[in-house]
């Protein structure tokens, strides 16, 4: 459910080699993804795909699945 290109951007930003990412995966489960790095990851995703999320959209994200869905909706 989490597409490889999104996964690659996240891994790159967090300087990880690999990590299991499913739709229900929470940010807290991924090493290095905490409240302090959260915004930079969102920014990295936006820059990589050339999109811009609204603040409210970002605040509503609960897990990776939400992020993937939000990204997909912007790319259509």
């Amino acid at each position: 459910m989490i597409k490889p290109d999104l996964k690659r951007v996240i891994l790159q930003e967090l300087k990880l080699d690999d990590w299991q990412m499913e739709a229900e995966t929470l940010a807290a489960e991924i090493p290095g993804w905490d409240s302090l790095s959260h915004a930079s990851i969102i920014l990295a995703v936006e820059k990589a795909f050339g999109v811009r999320f609204s603040n409210v959209e970002v605040l509503k994200l609960n897990n990776l699945g939400d992020l993937q869905r939000l990204l997909d909706s912007k790319l259509q």
């Binding site: 905490d34 409240s35 302090l36 959260h38 915004a39 930079s40 969102i42 920014l43 603040n55 409210v56 970002v58 605040l59 509503k60």
Partner: protein, 485 residues
Amino acid sequence: MYFDSLHYIMFVPAVLAAYQLMPSRWRWAVLLSASIAFYAALRMPLLVVAWTLVVLTSYWLGRRISDESNGIRRRTYLWAGVAAQVVILGSIKYLRVILRLIVPRFEIPTAGMDWFSTLGISYYTLQAVSYLADVYLGTAKPERHFGRFALYLGFFPKLLQGPIERAGDLLPQLRSLGSFNYTNVRSGVLLFCWGLFKKVAVANRLAPFVTAVYYDPHGYSGLSLIAATYMYALQILADFSGYTDMALGVARMFNIRLTENFKSPYFATSIADFWRRWHISFSRWILDYIFKPLQIEWRNARKVGVVGALMVTFLFSGLWHDVALTFMAWGLLHGVYLASSVLLKPWREAVYRKIGLANHPGRRAFQGIVTFHLVAFAWIFFRARSIADGWYTATHLFVGAATRISYATSVRGGVMGAILNGGSARDFAMLGAAMAVWFLGSTFRKTVRLQEQPIWFRWSMYYALILALVYLNAYDDVGFVYFQF
């Protein structure tokens, strides 16, 4: 009727009895009446008025936000709700200041009531804001049952000092109020007694020593300033976590689970970690409703944006406690700690790797000790009576003798002086005993599951706690540290 009063200890079983006798669909009414009676019994009439306004505004606006489909109007309702809470909070907190502006030589006949108390208001206004924001974001469904909503905001165990409960955590529990559960009542009573012990035996015994030094730090040597600061760090933890245990314990008797507010905060290995363990319901509030929105708004500024968001968040934290330079200094210090941590992270990792200690087992212990000292240092400003005193204390921790030379101050100047001023050597010994019980008890709670032990063991522990309460308590009428916020 504060938690450590006899009245409260009689009040709770009475409520429990009424609660159990009622059919389950009216239990919310018992708890709500009890909560209103509890608040009214404090004889602080303006607070009851303010609380009622908070309930009415947030109930109504919560429903409006949810029923409205127009995005702009929803946002307007949200901001109106936030503004209402800020105005109510500000009016109560700064009532004296406001009145003096309007009527300069203002004096009010008290008639036995306290018109200027702020007990509880800082907590349920934040909770109301959290409710409105969660409804707006769709994280929580609005509560349409007015009585239940009022109970959500006014539930007496958490009314005066929190925890600040999220709608998603507390409202569902209020919708299914279960009957008398012996296990819950038993563990609730135990938790309450443990919290009471921390407050009346540990915090109350530490207080005089801290007060003696912090009342006039100029008369004390660096060693006394350091000792008093360490003691304050322990006092505030015992006091506030004691209150929290009492709140959670009583709530548990009604089968309600309130949020954990403390998780061994002085074992934190970084300031960020500390804030995940200290006053958790409050730090989660400032994280979700101040830090995150700002951080996301300023994400294009990258690290500068994060630093900015941190400084604003912790400045708010300081000011929420009180609008005073000391609390601002305390808040800003924590903001600087966290900002430095964010900015220095890549270098810190590189340094640890270079000196080969990145995975050393002692690293965590070292980080723990450093973190504790950073926190303790910041507490100086939290406790200081003025910013000048705070600055003096902070800059004279390693300065030996008292500045004024006289027999009186030379006795007062040392740690012995602090002991004699704060109490006798016997008091100090009782404090030591209370601290030992606290340490043993805390370790015990983390390692042993008391409910699973044989009956003789459990009852020995209960008796031990009762004895500790009876013999080591230093009951006073002073109230809790966090009452003032």
